[in-house]
Point group: C2
């Protein structure tokens, strides 16, 4: 057991596809598949994957702006959307990440370079999807503090 | 917008790396990175990825036992553990999925075949990590209803 070792457990809690997912000591997350297989009473596994990628990408870019460019970030939003394949396995064919960064002294070129470095070398979840899912990014800088 | 289109949003909610992650109308999930970058006040993005994979794998196997083998499943548990790389990007080098299926009339060979088919053709999250992360499975059948 060390800082590079992580674990999570999931447990079926009804007769269909509803799972309680948890990491020790943290608030459980409920996952359920859509009808008719499940009852849609939670996130789907693929929605969790979008949240994993979006949060990983957003925090990676934010920390790189802070630590490499030595600039402040007042806000970060990422909207992740994905389209599933029609045939099994119905994984994402493509994912789009729309990133909004609120920062008063960041220019477009700095953000572009940061995003490129995040994609290529820094974002772990992106790295695990590489070559399997087409991921595209769009980005915008919101001046001021953002909301 | 259709059944194959999914989206999720994440929004920074403090000055560090704490994000509120959400799909419309569902209970938010809080993500935060570990100190010193964040405060560890939520799941990490990589923990969400483990939950995504474990729930996807568990529900895929469960549904295949129900629908292909026409057998009942009383319980499913998956413990997912992953070891991160030392260097950036610090993605998972390997993930282990320990699966427990509670079923009274399932035999080991049927479960093995089902797992193989889930890996190869049915589990979407597995499919997106293919060739990028070494994923191994261990499995056990628990007789009776399980807990």
């Amino acid at each position: 057991m060390n800082g590079n070792y992580l674990e999570a457990s999931v447990k079926l809690i009804n007769q269909k596809t509803k799972f309680k997912c948890q990491v020790n000591g943290k608030e459980p997350v409920v996952v359920d598949y859509i009808p008719p297989f499940g009852d849609g009473e939670g996130y789907t596994s693929l929605e969790l994957l979008l949240m994993s990628l979006a949060s990983c990408f957003g925090s990676t870019v934010k920390l790189m702006i802070n630590n490499h460019l030595k600039k402040q970030v007042a806000g970060v939003k990422v909207l992740a959307s994905g389209t599933r394949k029609e045939e099994h396995p119905t994984s994402f064919e493509s994912i789009t990440l729309k990133l909004e960064i609120a920062a008063s002294d960041l220019d477009a070129e700095e953000l572009e370079k940061t995003i490129q470095f995040a994609k290529d070398s820094m974002c772990p979840v992106w790295d695990m999807l590489r070559n399997n899912v087409e991921i595209t990014t769009e980005n915008a800088i919101i001046l001021g503090r953002g909301k």
